[in-house]
């Protein structure tokens, strides 16, 4: 007996077959990347189709080949209006373009405050045209790929031009000044600088041991009082936090703890100097008592 709540499997198969038949009769539009498949969603079902020409890349009008199941042929080029209609169905985000890597464009999200998208790091952008490094562009996301749409015409183009010229002139990222530049553009500029100068340090110079230690302590609100290099592999650091002095032994190269000056069950080397300041905060909150004036011989 048929259950009215449950769909009839035979009817479902017949419906899918009919939809597939309809698909083979229709032209459809899709972005295509070289060697890739095209996915088409019909009546809620996603069909993966392979193109006859695997080297084709771009926007295409396609038709399913009824005599060769699972394959499609490029039968035409869509108009700009058709591409625009397609892209409008997808959510949009702004990206600062980086450069091409192995013939693929990459960029980073232009606004960290976008509530609809939260991407981290570089993302690949497909089918980029008429745009250059450091341009801010709109891309559309279909759930798997970011497709280039257009440049952001509201963004002042002189910023990207100024940054490209600075890159051409090899201006170091720390000496870079550009009115109107946003933090993400600075990050992209630094990435391009490092791509152009692989051996370059993004900092103007190597930081001294003192600077590294001061920075590590300052991260969590502590202040360096003094430090002594015992040898090239070991240093003793004395620092002040909340009016109390603490001493620890570290590796000066990577600031890993040798001995924390507070008992960490022999796990000292799991931590670094910044972690130690944070551990002392936790220890205080828990009412822990130990000798803050601990000194090493």
């Amino acid at each position: 007996m048929k259950n009215p709540e449950r769909p009839d499997p035979l009817a479902l198969i017949a419906k899918m077959a009919a939809e597939e038949q309809k698909l083979s009769d229709q032209l459809f539009l899709a972005p295509v990347v070289a060697g890739g498949q095209v996915r088409v969603k019909v009546a809620g079902i996603v069909y993966a189709l392979r193109l006859d020409d695997p080297s084709f890349e771009g926007w295409a009008l396609l038709q399913v080949r009824s005599e060769k199941p699972g394959h499609a042929s490029v039968v035409g080029k869509p108009t700009i209006a058709q591409i625009s209609e397609y892209l409008k169905m997808l959510p949009r985000l702004r990206v600062v373009l980086l450069d091409q890597f192995e013939n693929r464009w990459w960029g980073i999200q232009a606004s960290a405050g976008d509530k609809n998208f939260q991407t981290t790091g570089a993302l690949p952008v497909k089918l980029v045209t008429t745009a250059a490094s450091l341009d801010t562009v709109y891309v559309r996301f279909d759930g798997a790929h970011f497709w280039y749409e257009t440049t952001d015409r509201r963004r002042d183009p002189t910023v990207a031009r100024t940054l490209r010229q600075a890159l051409h002139n090899d201006v170091h990222p720390e000496e870079l000044h550009c009115k109107g530049m946003v933090p993400q553009e600075r990050v992209v500029y630094t990435m391009l600088y490092l791509k152009k100068h692989p051996a370059a340090n993004p900092h103007m110079r190597e930081k001294t041991s003192r600077e590294l230690i001061e920075e590590a302590l300052g991260h969590a609100g502590a202040r360096l009082d003094a430090f002594w290099l015992q040898n090239e592999n070991q240093a003793t650091v004395r620092f002040e936090r909340n009016g109390r002095t603490h001493t620890a032994n570290i590796d000066p190269k990577n600031l890993t703890l040798f001995s924390a000056g507070v008992c960490l069950s022999g796990q000292d080397q799991k931590f670094d100097l910044t972690s130690l300041v944070s551990i002392l905060e936790e220890h205080e909150r828990k009412g822990g008592g130990y000798d803050y004036e601990h000194e090493y011989d």
Partner: protein, 87 residues
């Protein structure tokens, strides 16, 4: 060159460009500072959000942060580190 891929460049550039609050991560015996702005994190972000963002940034499963703690500092910075066992 191996360090010329977009992800590595992003990490190197990000460390250089950090100017706002910074998240210090001590994980797997390595230390790194990540600008919280790049991770889209702020002082009000939950611990779960911080773990998720760092896992995505480092491309590791968030479960690997089990046993890690987040310490929030008065200056707006944060530290993500292994839990300390006092004794």
């Amino acid at each position: 060159m191996a360090n010329q891929d977009p992800k590595t460049l992003f990490n190197r550039a990000n460390n250089a460009a950090a100017t706002g609050p910074v998240l210090h991560v001590r994980f797997d015996g390595r230390s790194r500072d990540i600008a919280m702005e790049i991770l889209d994190l702020g002082a009000g972000s939950s611990d779960a959000a911080v773990f998720q963002a760092v896992a995505a940034f480092l491309d590791v499963n968030v479960a690997r942060f089990d046993g890690m703690v987040i310490e929030r500092h008065q200056n707006g910075n944060m530290t993500l580190r292994p839990e300390a066992v006092f004794g």
